[in-house]
Amino acid sequence: MTILPTKMPQARQPITLQINGETRELQVHPWTTLLDLLREQLELTGTKKGCDHGQCGACTVLIDGKRINSCLALAITKDGCEITTIEGLARAGALHPIQEAFIEHDAFQCGYCTPGQICSAVGLMEEGHARSREEIRELMSGNICRCGAYTNIVDAVESVLEDSVL
């Protein structure tokens, strides 16, 4: 006779997410992070795993329009939410203005942190609390760039901020 532990970790459970505008009915383990769900189950590998501990910002995505670290979000707790990843920012073949600005200002070298930087910058624009270069620096501090492209990243975000104010 097999003796089962009194508490079996549960099997996958159903959740529904809107991912980049598409409704997805998914089965997830309770311990699967949103980051791992995106990358491993949905093959949306644009979102990057850096530290996996909420320290680097490479995994930044937008949930219901707000930027968060997807590595610290259990997917099951986001049932019913709208997720936007780097793959979902372009519209009808046109890049998002932040994406255009990153190219224009050469705001990356290796590119690993870039999807997180761009999603974070989109979230920053939406929040509307950054008006100056100093505020952009402070409010982009959750995204680490080990190549040190910070100066151009701030240039890129500042250029879009100026355009949006005009």
Binding site: K7, M8, P9, Q10, Q13, H29, P30, W31, T33, D52, H53, G54, G57, T60, K66, R67, I68, N69, C71, L72, A73, L74, I76, T77, S120, G123, L124, E127, H129, S132, E134, E135, R137, E138, L139, S141, G142, N143
Partner: protein, 337 residues
């Protein structure tokens, strides 16, 4: 990460019952601390109780007091118009902590309940009385640059990492909790505890109790406040020493002074007895130096954190000068004025 079961709570009572019934169960809200701890196997709940669907997200001013739902996010709280106008010290402290992404996910209840960032607590291969009671303290004679200088014990010299909690301590907040035995209110100074012989307990919550709201009374500090946070880099780092200071001036004298310290103890460090001694004294540097000395009375270094013995009183003096001048520390321009 160890595997676990998942329960979506439909009400506070249900969540409290589930928590009380299972000693290995834990609550998840924003998840920014507990998921991190689970990844390191620092904490291994067998059931996660998800309270995100509960109706605890309101931010409102009720009869002059600020009432923060436990599930309101740190970002929504810090940028709330009423908080920025009536409780700017709280807003400033929140914005001094973490990153925008973390503040968007982290909740007010979770912020207060976050665990220490002591290196030994975070590393299951080392001894830690907080993580594994009775196993010893690696920090006492180890790497302890970030550790406590006040209220320590031979069991634990960890510090509480929250910035928000330091401001709530200074502002006389009250924590409302609900558990199997009903609801109760806990004065903020009684919410967190010193380590003593039981560093595994960060706070005075009873098993099964869930934080539902935090109430911050009205105040008359105006612009005479500051949250001064000193750390190894200018953003996105935990405090080595922080000071939440609020003053009500009576001419050029102190009418009321309320000061709490972060980064120096197992809980936000406040001494109401010291504050009472300084009422009526001139609001000048000489007084502030005496106040800082009294507030840090009994401080003890453990080697690498000896620098805090100088840094803490100096930070208190600077913070009180900022508060007296009505020039709160900017969390954007990090130059300490």
């Amino acid at each position: 990460m160890k595997r676990f079961s998942y329960l979506k709570a439909r009400g506070v009572a249900e969540a409290a019952q589930a928590l009380a019934a299972d000693p290995q169960a834990q609550i998840i809200a924003g998840g920014t601390n507990i998921v991190d701890l689970m990844k390191y196997d620092v904490t291994c709940p067998d059931t996660i109780i998800d309270i995100n669907g509960l109706d605890l997200g309101d931010i409102a001013v009720v009869e002059g007091s600020l009432r923060l739902g436990a599930l309101a996010t740190n970002a929504d709280t810090a940028y709330h118009e009423a908080v920025q106008s009536g409780w700017p010290l709280l807003s400033s402290a929140i914005l001094a902590g973490a990153s925008p992404q973390l503040r968007n996910a982290a909740t007010n209840g979770g912020n207060m309940l976050q665990r220490t960032r002591c290196y030994y607590f975070y590393d299951p291969s080392t001894p830690c009385n907080k993580r594994r009671p009775g196993s010893g303290c690696g920090a006492l004679t180890g790497v302890n640059r970030i550790h406590a200088i006040l209220g320590t014990s031979e069991s634990c010299i960890a510090v509480h990492p929250s910035d928000m909690a330091v401001s709530l301590a200074a502002l006389d907040a009250v924590v409302s909790v609900e558990g199997p035995d009903g609801q109760r209110d806990i004065a903020f100074e009684d919410f967190h505890r010193l380590p003593g012989d039981h560093p595994e307990a960060d706070n005075t919550l009873k098993r099964g109790e869930i934080v539902t709201a935090i109430t911050v009374p009205a105040n008359q500090f105006g612009q005479n406040h500051t949250y001064l946070k000193l750390r190894d880099r200018l953003s996105y780092a935990f405090a080595l020493v922080s000071v939440a200071a609020a003053l009500k001036l009576d001419g050029d004298r102190i009418g009321t002074v309320q000061v709490a310290l972060g980064g120096v103890a197992h809980k936000p460090w406040r001494r109401k007895d010291v504050e009472a001694q300084f009422v009526g004294q001139p609001a000048n540097r000489e007084t502030f130096v005496a106040f800082a000395s009294a507030l840090t009375e009994g401080a003890k270094g453990y080697g690498q954190n000896d620098f805090k013995l100088d840094l803490a009183p100096r930070a208190i003096v600077r913070a009180l000068e900022q508060a007296a001048a009505g020039t709160p520390q900017s969390q954007i321009h990090k130059v300490v004025a």
